[in-house]
Amino acid sequence: MSPMARTAPVPAATDPAIIRNFCIIAHIDHGKSTLADRMLQYTGVVQSRDMKAQYLDRMDIERERGITIKSQAVRMPWELDGTSYALNMIDTPGHVDFTYEVSRSLAACEGAVLLVDAAQGIEAQTLANLYLAMENNLTIIPVLNKIDLPAAQPEKYAAELASLIGGDPEDVLRVSGKTGMGVEALLDKIVRDLPAPVGDPNAPARAMIFDSVYDTYRGVVTYVRVVDGMLHPRERIQMMSTRATHELLEIGVSSPEPTPSKGLGVGEVGYLITGVKDVRLSKVGDTVTNLAKPATASLPGYADAKPMVFSGLYPLDGTDYPVLRDALEKLMLNDAALVYEPETSAALGFGFRVGFLGLLHLEITRERLEREYKLDLISTAPNVEYEVTLEDKKVVHVTNPSEYPTGKIAEVREPMVSATILAPNEFVGAIMELCQSRRGVMGGMDYLSEDRVEIRYRLPLAEIVFDFFDILKSKTRGYGSLDWKADGEQVADLVKVDIMLQGEQVDAFSAITHRDKAYAYGVMMTGKLRELIPRQQFEVPIQAAIGSRIIARESIRAIRKDVLAKCYGGDITRKRKLLEKQKEGKKRMKMVGRVEVPQEAFIAALTTDESKDKAKK
């Protein structure tokens, strides 16, 4: 007999004592979505026959990549010892790029299920999120997942978890999201161990926004956790950071389809619809209050998302520029962290400089643009924001290498991060070598268990945004994991390297690098371009330069033969079709001076080898 609840507590009339708010903290692929699916099924909110794998991962890209980008909250009933409880599960994003969103989701909960793959052990990002959870005083329920796997080592990792958060390895639950084993016991434990929310039902309403999603039909859907008081439909609410006011058109809970309610009370989690069309008007972390009876202090923790990584996005086909502009405008409605402004490149034409939280954010945004808006894009190498002080004390912020000032420079500052890397101890040497080569300074090292270490480094952000993670993965045979957070800035000896084709500078390939690495960049890029650019009817010199000083050069020999000798007994049609195809090919070329550069060459030159391999697979 399934312990599915016979009656579900009604929203707006639920005693906080029977509410449990929790989230699941897990590293990518450790099985969070699958476990969430099982919970939906066992609590009866989704019928088994309606079950799609990873029900909550709404966006196509999420489903395909198996990662969770947008968090959502689901209300599920669960009965224990004759009482029906209301469980609110908040599905948090698992990736480091979205740390701020994670921290807001955590703040909406009293407890967290720490889900760890029993064949993998804990990873750096899990540690980072666990740290955030502890900071928010959440009660942690440690769980090992995938115990059905033959490679599972539950004893080993139970011990690791227990030593990390305290407690007895015996108390670590063992479940399988796949087979459902242990999931009911986990639901019981959530009810038993997690504290009920507390708040003042009579105080002015205060609700924290932990997510904000744009929906084509309904406008922005805002997810909130009510801390004090109560929110009702039709009343006017106010966003405490911006003072913007809206009418509450609809309020309700997801179970998991949106279900309107008479309101939301203390401890409850649900959604609000106000008719606004831009997520910027309903920002994650902000506090919602009642306009008629406003709270005086907002809830703590609000911060604006700050872009860390910048890249130029250009349509392959210049005529798609308006499509790209409209698409970015639409994506912005759903992504408060996205910022952009138009820019032009001599080589790539009209495009946008776009700011992202991190590389994954960039990749996902790019993929959405390509998929949902059918755009073919070139993105320039990711960049960080440099602060350049000129000798006349003028300060310039540079997010695009081609805007690097040419005047006398007094000082350049670059953003820094503190990074935590977790890996089996056999890879310590390789990791230190990698971090050292990326100008890292070691902060410390700890053994998590006998054979797993945590290594801390302070590194320039610019050194990790491009291919650091890919290289870390390959140097640790896939076992290394990385977490990072912004950590101030430092003065560094940086220079701009330009790349020239036949003396013509190609702005898309300019890079800001440390002086010691300029030469390597120049050699790498000129070498790559020599391979990628087809031979032309004349010789093409490729040079890398710092200012007017050439630091590396290559050359593409002139092509000597481009003629088809035969005419196939009068099959002129075939010859003409071939010519037409070649002409089509020529159209897809970008001209740099007289040099025809295929767009594939731009793409390949701006891609790391690792990510190229990924694309091939």
Partner: protein, 412 residues
């Protein structure tokens, strides 16, 4: 793996031509191509529409082929007449393959006789057959000459045994001078086909082949860079790494050597891959292709062109024979070119000839072509003196980059 046919419009089963084909027909030369789709063995590099006895199996036998070809000759004569084209004698006839000389000389003579009966021969007409050096005898060549053939083109390809081996050729080098002598004795003009850039061929090998070919004093030479066609045995061997890849720079060096040695021997280029001792000895049938004249192609997979209408026959000899047997046109598809496409083709084809392309004729395609001329002179791709006279003629460097030149003068 015989070459693929283009995609076109369906061809009408009666073969009748649209009115467009008639315009200016009286002023255009008319030729006949006869395809013989048989070979003793298939060479590893070849993707022509040809079949060995084993590939063909039953059905279309070599014995019955002459009869089938004659049936298409008669069909062609009727179609041209019923479409309203003026009666024109044949200026050129070309038997190609495949290996035409795999058929008994009497069969070739029979097809030619039927064609002459249908259209007649123009005075001084050129009648060529391709031949493999090991598929002719003094007697067969004499028979061909007696039937009206004037010219034979031997597939010599190379004089170097290891190169011939990679090409899967069956003849020994010594067979070539013999065959040339017999052809001369029969009163036939002689052309030699050479292939350069075969994997494993050194520059010295190629020089030796050229010098050997020139020592036979041919009237005409065709030198083709080896093309690795998709689906051939050679392509598979290269893919598997059994045979080295083709190198364009090697091809360029060999083309330059060919032009040098052939010119020194007193022949001149008239098309990118063709040289003749005198302008009159240029292959006029070949020129007709490049100049956009009219010709009818007899045989499976054969291509035809009449006044901007191009069509091509079904590929398989059995399907081909069946169509004709039922009194239907053997055409598989055709295209009727609009004036823009005809201009594009004209540029594409005439740019390859030493007679050149009239620069004023580029005007019809917009300004790109005229504007490109100065750049082509600057890059050394066309002859400046000819350009001043109003004609676009490729230099040696330009011949090697002919396709690129064509792309530069055509509008985007």
């Amino acid at each position: 793996m015989p070459s693929a046919l283009p995609l076109g419009d369906p061809a009408p089963s009666d073969g009748l031509l649209p009115g467009q084909a008639l315009e200016g027909a009286a002023a255009r030369a008319f030729g006949l191509y006869v395809h013989i789709p048989f070979c003793a063995v298939r060479c590893g590099y070849c993707d022509f529409n040809t079949y060995t006895a084993t590939e063909l199996g039953g059905g279309a036998s070599q014995d019955a082929y002459a009869g089938t070809a004659v049936a298409e000759v008669d069909f062609a004569a009727t179609v041209l007449k019923n479409s309203g084209l003026p009666a024109r004698p044949l200026s050129t006839v070309f038997f190609g393959g495949g290996t035409p000389t795999l058929l008994p000389a009497g069969d070739l003579a029979r097809i030619l006789t039927a064609a002459i009966a249908a259209w007649g021969l123009a005075p001084g007409a050129e009648v060529t057959t391709e031949a493999n050096p090991d598929s002719v005898t003094p007697e067969s060549l004499q028979l061909l000459a007696d039937a009206g053939f004037t010219r034979v083109s031997f597939g010599m390809q190379s004089a170097v045994p290891h190169v011939l081996k990679v090409l899967d050729r069956t003849h020994t080098p010594s067979r070539v001078p013999q065959a040339v002598r017999w052809a001369r004795e029969a009163g036939l003009a002689v052309s030699l086909d050479l292939i350069y850039g075969t994997p494993g061929e050194s520059l010295a090998d190629w020089r030796y082949s050229l010098e050997t070919a020139l020592s036979y004093a041919p009237d005409h030479i065709s030198a083709y860079a080896l093309i690795v066609e998709d689906g051939t045995k050679l392509a598979a061997q290269i893919r598997r790494g059994e045979v080295p890849e083709i190198d364009d720079d090697d091809h360029a060096a060999k083309y330059e050597l060919a032009d040098e040695l052939i010119s020194d021997a007193g022949l001149s280029w008239y098309e990118v891959s063709n040289w003749s001792r005198t302008p009159e000895q240029a292959c006029r049938h070949n020129l007709a292709y490049w100049r956009g004249d009219d010709w009818w192609g007899i045989g499976p997979g054969a291509h035809s062109h009449v006044g901007g209408v191009r069509w091509w026959n079904v590929k398989h000899p059995t399907a081909y024979a069946n169509r004709l047997g039922s009194g239907l046109s053997p055409a598989a598809g055709r295209e009727t070119l609009d004036s823009q496409t005809r201009s594009v083709e004209r540029v594409m084809l005439e740019a390859r000839l030493n007679s050149g392309l009239e620069i004023t004729s580029l005007g019809g395609l917009g300004d790109t072509g005229r504007h490109a001329v100065a750049g082509l002179i600057a890059d050394g791709l066309i002859d400046p003196a000819a350009a001043f006279r109003g004609s676009l003629v490729l230099t040696l460097k330009g011949r090697l980059l002919a396709d690129a030149v064509v792309r530069r003068i055509l509008p985007d």
